[in-house]
Symmetry: C2
Amino acid sequence: MEKRTPLPVADAVNRVMERRTSKDIEWVPIEEAGERFLGEDIVADHDVPPFDKSPYDGFAIIADDTMKASRESPVTLEVISEIGAGSVFNEKVYHGQAVRIMTGAKIPDDCDAVVMLELARTYTENEQDFIDIKRPFYTHDNISFQGEDTQKGTSLVSKGTSIHPGITALLATFGYAQVPVAKKPVVGVIATGSELLDIKEPLQPGKIRNSNAYMILAQVQKAGGEAKYFGTLTDDFEKCLQAVKDALSEVDILLTTGGVSVGDYDYIPAILEKLEAEVLFNKVAMRPGSVTTVASLGDQMIYGLSGNPSACYVGFELFVRPIIRNALYTAAPHLRKSKARLGADFPKPNPFMRFVRAKLVDDDGHYTAVPAGLDKSGSVTSLSEANAFIVLPGGTRGYQTDMTVDVLLLNEEEGSEWPWENIVPYYR
Amino acid sequence: MEKRTPLPVADAVNRVMERRTSKDIEWVPIEEAGERFLGEDIVADHDVPPFDKSPYDGFAIIADDTMKASRESPVTLEVISEIGAGSVFNEKVYHGQAVRIMTGAKIPDDCDAVVMLELARTYTENEQDFIDIKRPFYTHDNISFQGEDTQKGTSLVSKGTSIHPGITALLATFGYAQVPVAKKPVVGVIATGSELLDIKEPLQPGKIRNSNAYMILAQVQKAGGEAKYFGTLTDDFEKCLQAVKDALSEVDILLTTGGVSVGDYDYIPAILEKLEAEVLFNKVAMRPGSVTTVASLGDQMIYGLSGNPSACYVGFELFVRPIIRNALYTAAPHLRKSKARLGADFPKPNPFMRFVRAKLVDDDGHYTAVPAGLDKSGSVTSLSEANAFIVLPGGTRGYQTDMTVDVLLLNEEEGSEWPWENIVPYYR
């Protein structure tokens, strides 16, 4: 067994980010674009509004006609036509005339103001409609001007942005029936460990069900990748090697879980050597997850994540998620960093940086980070509650309740560009 | 046109929540359960760990044997076998013996402590392995006990919880190859308005592309519903009525957008009357979205959302989202409420409660809510930036920068049970 030198977390993430996988775009119908990541910037192909339009139901008029209007001597205008939303009035409007106009309809060329319905007294004489107006209106009153919201050619949303409903509205407005999105990187998952039962198998003495593989598959999907499961390997080296080779022919990124603990029946280092993969690191100065291995093979990445559920989870979020998000053109591929009040004592110092699964409690906009569940490294139940990691730097001191600490948020769409600077707990 | 009395927002939401649609569960493979909502509580079908196991690589021993061990006079034990993870050692272990044990393996019945690998000196004599131990170990040292993480029968996660990767790990651990999830309510979308062009059509004078329908379809999917698009209706009443009837035969909830503004060619009220639907309200004391209509027909809901993009968006999030989430068993179906510093002045009082599309800016865990884009009611671009609504109660006063205001978060998985109490901006 080779000697493993623990690498600081930031250095390890950095080494991973230097080896990015390739990226590509594909076009999908707008109805299927939700939660995908934009593969190109959205550019306005026309002004918004595309024409001068009425923001109200009312009457399009020539403002000049109302200059002398007052309560005592209203101005009377002849209503010559009506414009529904979606219709256009192409005829001439003369002084003394008005046109009934619906919300959103185009202002007739000769008109330059709109009188709201409720400010006009309407009446009919000899089958002709009229309105009385009791105050002056001025040029441009109550008109939504062409381009006032958005001008043609404006870049509206950057590629790499996750498509939420507000962006879908923009895409529809600008005619994107097909949307350019980042192709999902294909991420394969292989579980190793002879103690693993399939999820469908009944329990047996000494064995546990394979929860890591399904957890990572879900993490891959959540990060935006396409997950592919290659099953569980057992202890035959040649079979393992062949399975890894087969999987590599189908994926951009291959994740293995289990089999990286020193002393276990661990084939991953030997397999990486056989493949002539370049090992970027095989030990990280972090808890849990110190035995994470990452290797690079051409433009593919191979990960040896721990068999311990929490270590596996942390290893994924720190080292795999940003690679997937990077392939989705995201400028901020890492977990989003924020600050929270520490809700528990961590008196025991640890030389390694710790990632404590935590639940953020929102007290009127002030967040407290409380450790989730037992926070024992083998606990699966604590993972189910966590929505953040508390990040505690390694060193010679512990940390106390009420300190302000860095947290990494697990459920946020938006990310951080680089969360690894200035991680220092402090008292506010 | 009937007279419309504006209803306070909380009352309107309340009327909607009294008419819940039916709910049901279905079973899906665990690989497809991500982001679905649990249809039943997850209950532990076995203890975790399921047996006493070793948390370390090392040696299983009988603690008593080491009582007199010291640096000066180490105790020597004979290593009689080796237990890999997933294997079980069923033979007898006698005093003076030890068994090599891997992380996660089951403790032999006769052993009651584990010595970590690095605390034992190993050597071989006459092809027999031995270890020397230099300090006493005590009963239960270094053992992960059966059930110490989770006991059989414990209810672990409540129904109505969104399935994220940590929950997937739990589901796998407890053998849920198929997962009971809430059936997605089927939500139909019909757009009305003769000014609407299909997304694929080139622009025409006076017309705009139909962005609302695609936006709502995305909102439905994001809320957890199954979205079904029924296209755009034009101005023929009988055709509209038939289209609504046809759609109602396929959906749990029907959303229409457009055609509810007073003065527009508005068929929705007449259609609701023909259907003998019970109108819960047709005007809400809110901006934007005051012309939102909601009706109930048996166990179906029919919504008339505004044709204005922002009003339509707000109407959906306030009145449709909680109905969808309720059908997904969620106890907190409304948008999650939090507090933030107001990042702009709103000097003009408004009698109606305002929902201002905003971007939350995170300054080391302190959130400031800044209005997104222009915040003009017709703006689609501002919707693309917003991740929250600033909620400003109606009344006779405006609001100033630096006040602490309520915000409703648009991208949070977790919701509020009832966000409508105590909405009062204040200075901290």
